[in-house]
Every structure is written in structure tokens, then in C-alpha cells.
């Protein structure tokens, strides 16, 4: 978390934490998510197979412990256990990266608009409205066409599109914070605009933003899987849960393990992230988020 210089905000954070811990689903989700993250980071240690290594004797075979294919192999004879854990890294990273980008743009844009207010605010928010009228889908597809398959560029691009809602939330928060007495007090004490924004507005608007950000991570992970369905996902030899699930879904009857394992990981992760987001929202008691 960012530094909390404002002592008035410390007590609410404690209250928030205790409220958060009361929500068992959130706590359980946090633990499971940590386990999954650890698995994606350390799982390789348990397998003799490497990413992209082809086992010509086991092509498209179900889980087989003696050959150390714990999750079976895919249609190219690559170990699914290894694929799943590397896929998890990409999926999680993509979700985090895109969210981080939208977080940075959205918070900056929203605070500026809300803080300056008046005509600038109207103009800046109009622009957001206008951008909303562009179909997201079309935009992202063209970006994948332009950037080829440089996955990082694509997800920075998604983040750059996703910031719209973030900006709206932050702006709303900033507008209401501006009226509060402690901001007034800071201004009277001669704090510069930059200081006020950095020290007072942003930390206090963070609650709502964090909730939204937590919820947009699973959205983006799901969106990545959707791009994979359209064949616009990550480039070989990298893989993602979306790519694996899409391959598995095409042979759900003949090779169910190819769908089952990655889908299990994806679904669990998404459930957890959503529960964490909901829990945070309950605990932070912020109205302005969906």
C-alpha cells in the first residue's frame, strides 16, 4: 500500500481488515490464490519435462505417472502439467499488467479531472464518454493485428482501453473528497496542488479503485481466453490458460484431461479473484463501484 501519512485514515484501514477477515470466502480465496501462484512459480521443480519439449512416445495421452505426465500430454506430445503452470504465469501476469496500466492511467486522469473540476472536468469526461462509444472488441482485434502477437503490447493496449471506468470512479471520488474539510485544511496550510493530490486525494480514493482493480483482473484474464478462442492469443512457445482451454474445448470428449486441468485452474483463480474483490468491497464499504 502507499504510504499513509494521514493519521485519520489509519483507523478505517484496521476496521477494513477486521471486516475483511470476517468474510471466510475471501480469506479462503486469498489462501487458494496464493497456492496457485506458488504452483505456477515453483511447479516446474516437480516435473522432469520442460516447456515445449515434445515426448514423441506420448502424444495426446491421459495422465500418466510413470512417464511423469501428471496432467497428461497435449496433441503435440507436450507435458500438460508444465504447460498449465507456464500458462498460469502468463494469464496472471497479463491480468495484473493490464490492470496496472489501467490503474495508472485511470487514477491520473480521474484525479486531474475531478480535482480541477469545472470546464476541464466536463471536457475530460466528455472525451471518456466518446471513447465508450467505440466498440472495445473491434479496437482490441485491430491492436492485435497491428502489434502482431507481442503479448505485452497487446495487454498494455487492453489496459489502455480499460482505464475508462477507472477514471470515472476516481473522478467521482475526487469530486466528493474535494468538499471535505481536511482537504480544505491542507489547502489553507499552503500545500501545493500536487501535494494535496498525492497525499490526500489519491490515498483516500484508493479504496474504490482497489475494488475495481481486483475485479478487473479476472475480467482481463477471461478476456485473454476469449482472444485465444478467436486465435488471437499469445504466441508459441508461450501459452496461457486461455490457449490451453481453447485447445481442450475442441476435444472435450476425446481428450477431457486437456480441458479439465487448465479449466480447473482458471475457474478456481477467477472464483477466488472475484470473491476477493467482493470481500474487499464489502469491507471498504464503497458505493461507487460495480
Amino acid at each position: 500500500m502507499t504510504q499513509q501519512h494521514n493519521s485519520t485514515t489509519e483507523a478505517p484501514w484496521k476496521k477494513t481488515l477486521s471486516r475483511l477477515l470476517k468474510n471466510k470466502a475471501t480469506v479462503a480465496s486469498l489462501i487458494i490464490l496464493m497456492v496457485i501462484t506458488l504452483f505456477t512459480l515453483l511447479g516446474q521443480w516437480f516435473s522432469p519435462w520442460e516447456l515445449g519439449e515434445v515426448d514423441w512416445d506420448h502424444i495426446g495421452t491421459p495422465p500418466n505417472w510413470s512417464a511423469h505426465h501428471y496432467f497428461g500430454t497435449d496433441a503435440n506430445g507436450r507435458d500438460l502439467f508444465v504447460q498449465t503452470l507456464y500458462g498460469g504465469r502468463i494469464s496472471l501476469m497479463v491480468g495484473l499488467l493490464a490492470t496496472a496500466v489501467s490503474f495508472i492511467i485511470g487514477v491520473t486522469y480521474g484525479t486531474i479531472a475531478g480535482y480541477l473540476g469545472g470546464r476541464t472536468d466536463t471536457l475530460m469526461m466528455r472525451f471518456v464518454d466518446v471513447l465508450y462509444a467505440l466498440p472495445f472488441m473491434f479496437f482490441v482485434i485491430l491492436l492485435t493485428v497491428y502489434f502482431g502477437r507481442s503479448i505485452w503490447l497487446i495487454f498494455i493496449a487492453i489496459g489502455a482501453v480499460e482505464w475508462l471506468t477507472m477514471a470515472r470512479i476516481v473522478r467521482g471520488q475526487t469530486l466528493s473528497l474535494k468538499q471535505r474539510t481536511f482537504i480544505e485544511a491542507a489547502r489553507v496550510c499552503g500545500a501545493s496542488h500536487a501535494t494535496i493530490i498525492r497525499r490526500h486525494i489519491i490515498p483516500n480514493a484508493l479504496g474504490a479503485v482497489i475494488v475495481y482493480a481486483t475485479l478487473s483482473v479476472p475480467q482481463i484474464i477471461l478476456f485473454e481466453s476469449f482472444l485465444s478462442f478467436l486465435g488471437l492469443g499469445v504466441q508459441e512457445p508461450l501459452t496461457s490458460w486461455g490457449v490451453l482451454i481453447n485447445e481442450g474445448a475442441q476435444q472435450m470428449e476425446s481428450a477431457p484431461w486437456m480441458l479439465l486441468f487448465p479449466a480447473l485452474f482458471l475457474a478456481t483463480t477467477l472464483f477466488c479473484l472475484n470473491f476477493i474483490g467482493d470481500g474487499l468491497r464489502d469491507a471498504l464499504d464503497t458505493k461507487d463501484t460495480r
Partner: protein
């Protein structure tokens, strides 16, 4: 009321112009063209095609032509589906997407609000977790997994429902369900969050303290404020669900317009993709206007502010 409408319409024109300009140049500058195919066309033939479709003129001239044409309601012929104009394709696909989308939204509202309310009333209990886990299925498992599973189970194994096609009500069941699942999740969690907020608000506490029966409190005092966020969500959601059902359309072989956003862009069907992008823009603007009106009607405070 009138003020709201006027305000919205005022920004509609620059919005659309922006949308048209950005997408026109974005699609045009993408590598490849509508006539590229596995078999490269001989140069002379390619030139004929470009002349027939005015693709040989400078881009800015073409942009001018395009604006002029759409001002006259002419969206041109599709490059890919050459026997149809863009307007014909959209008009043919829109009713399909609209009926599917509205039914799915209706289903999502019904189930989502019920599930969300149950969860909110039992916040942090086992019921809450169970209900929300169920509700969230649609945003935890990709629809391209759920939809084929439904088709396989109800269509192929049980033989109860058709697995694809368009024409009868039976053919709508599976697509509507698949389409509504993610929306159920969204509605349920919005209802839950919103109802928890409402229940914790001072006037609700007062109502409870007065000893009013819970059902009455819910119906008389909690319903409206709880629904407000859902109403504002409905606008963009309707536009999104009508236009964004490409996966469901592909899996169930439905003639909707969602696929044109994806395939139009991938095929470099310049006119078609522009047509649907503009259509989407108009739809969003109309939906937002509608939401504003409903909102004003639901929440008197907004009316006074105006």
C-alpha cells in the same frame, strides 16, 4: 426531461464523427486488404477490383466519399458478402441479436436479482458463499467451454434441444442460457453489493428499528435504491450483449451481428465493419439516453439537480 435529451443529442454528433474517423483510419491502415486470399490475384485483376471499389484513390478522398455516402444513408456494399449491402446485413442480423440479447438480459435480471438478494440478506454465511459461487460460474468459466458443453449434453446426448441453427423457439433456448450466464453473475453481485449498502443505510436501520416486517421493508424501501446501479448498468450492457455475442453465434450457428465486429475486422471488410461500428455507437448513445430518462424517473434528486 427535454434537457436531458437535448444534452445527450448535442454530444451525439461529435461522438459519432470521432468514432467514424478513428475506426475508418484504423481499419484502413491495417495490413492486408479485402481481396487478399490464399491464391494471390494476378495484378491486372487486383487493379480491376480496386477500381470497381474505388480503393485506388487516396485514403483521404475515400474518407470524404464515405462520409458523404453515410450522410445519405448509404453504407455501401459489403466487401466480403458482395450480394448484400451493409444495411441489409445489419437489418437482417439485428432482430436475431436483439431477441437473443433481450431474452438473455431478462433471464439474467430475474435470476441475478433473486440470487443477489438471497446472498445479501445472508451476508457472509454459507448460503451467501454457495449462492455467489453458483452465480459466478458464468464469469469463471469461459462461454466457449460452457456453450459446447450445453450443446453436447442437451442436444447430442439427451436430444432435447437442437444444437444449432435459427428459426424455432427451441433453437433459442441454449443460446439464451449461454448468453445469460455471465450476465447473471454480474447482476447477482451488483444486487448483492447494492442491497448490502441499502440495508446498512441509516433510513433502513430506522425502518428496521420501527419493527416493520422485513418483506415490507425490502419492497417499499430497499427495492428502488438497490435497482439504481443495475439500471445504469443496463444501458451499456444491452448494447454490449446485442453486439458482443460472437462466440455464441459461432458455436450455435446463429445469424446475428456480433460476428461482424470480429470477422469484419479480420476479413478487412471495410464497409461492413464501419457499418457495425457506427451502429454500435448509435446504440450506445440511445441506450445511455434511455438510462438517463429511466434514472431521472426513478431518482427524483437528479431531476431537481437539472
Amino acid at each position: 426531461m427535454l434537457q436531458i435529451i437535448l444534452k445527450r443529442l448535442q454530444i451525439a454528433v461529435p461522438t459519432l464523427l470521432f468514432v467514424i474517423t478513428v475506426s475508418f483510419f484504423m481499419i484502413r491502415l491495417a495490413p492486408g486488404g479485402p481481396f487478399d486470399s490464399e491464391r494471390p490475384i494476378p495484378k491486372e485483376i487486383a487493379e480491376n477490383l480496386e477500381r470497381v471499389y474505388h480503393l485506388n484513390e487516396p485514403l483521404i478522398t475515400q474518407y470524404g466519399y464515405y462520409l458523404w455516402n453515410i450522410l445519405h444513408g448509404d453504407f455501401g456494399p459489403s466487401f466480403k458478402y458482395q450480394d448484400y449491402t451493409v444495411s441489409e446485413l445489419i437489418l437482417q442480423g439485428f432482430p436475431v441479436s436483439l431477441s437473443l440479447g433481450l431474452l438473455a438480459l431478462l433471464l439474467a435480471l430475474l435470476i441475478g436479482i433473486v440470487l443477489g438478494s438471497i446472498a445479501a440478506l445472508r451476508q457472509n454465511s454459507r448460503v451467501d458463499y454457495l449462492v455467489m459461487t453458483f452465480a459466478m460460474t458464468g464469469i469463471a468459466i469461459p462461454s466457449f467451454v460452457i456453450a459446447p458443453l450445453l450443446a453436447l449434453f442437451f442436444g447430442v446426448m439427451l436430444g432435447w434441444l437442437p444444437t444449432g441453427g435459427w428459426g424455432s423457439w427451441q433453437q433459442m433456448v441454449l443460446p439464451v442460457i449461454s448468453l445469460s450466464l455471465p450476465q447473471i453473475a454480474i447482476v447477482a453481485r451488483m444486487t448483492r453489493a447494492s442491497l448490502i449498502d441499502t440495508l446498512n443505510s441509516p433510513y433502513m436501520l430506522t425502518a428496521k428499528a420501527k419493527g416493520l416486517p422485513l418483506r415490507l421493508i425490502l419492497l417499499r424501501h430497499a427495492l428502488k435504491p438497490t435497482l439504481l446501479p443495475i439500471v445504469s448498468w443496463l444501458g451499456p450492457a444491452t448494447a454490449a450483449i446485442i453486439t458482443g455475442s460472437v462466440i455464441i453465434e459461432q458455436i450455435f450457428g446463429l445469424p446475428g451481428i456480433g460476428r461482424y465486429f470480429v470477422n469484419g475486422a479480420l476479413n478487412r471488410d471495410y464497409t461492413l465493419v464501419m457499418g457495425v461500428v457506427i451502429f454500435y455507437g448509435v446504440l450506445i448513445i440511445l441506450m445511455n439516453l434511455l438510462v438517463d430518462l429511466v434514472y431521472a424517473w426513478l431518482d427524483p434528486r437528479i431531476r431537481y439537480e437539472e
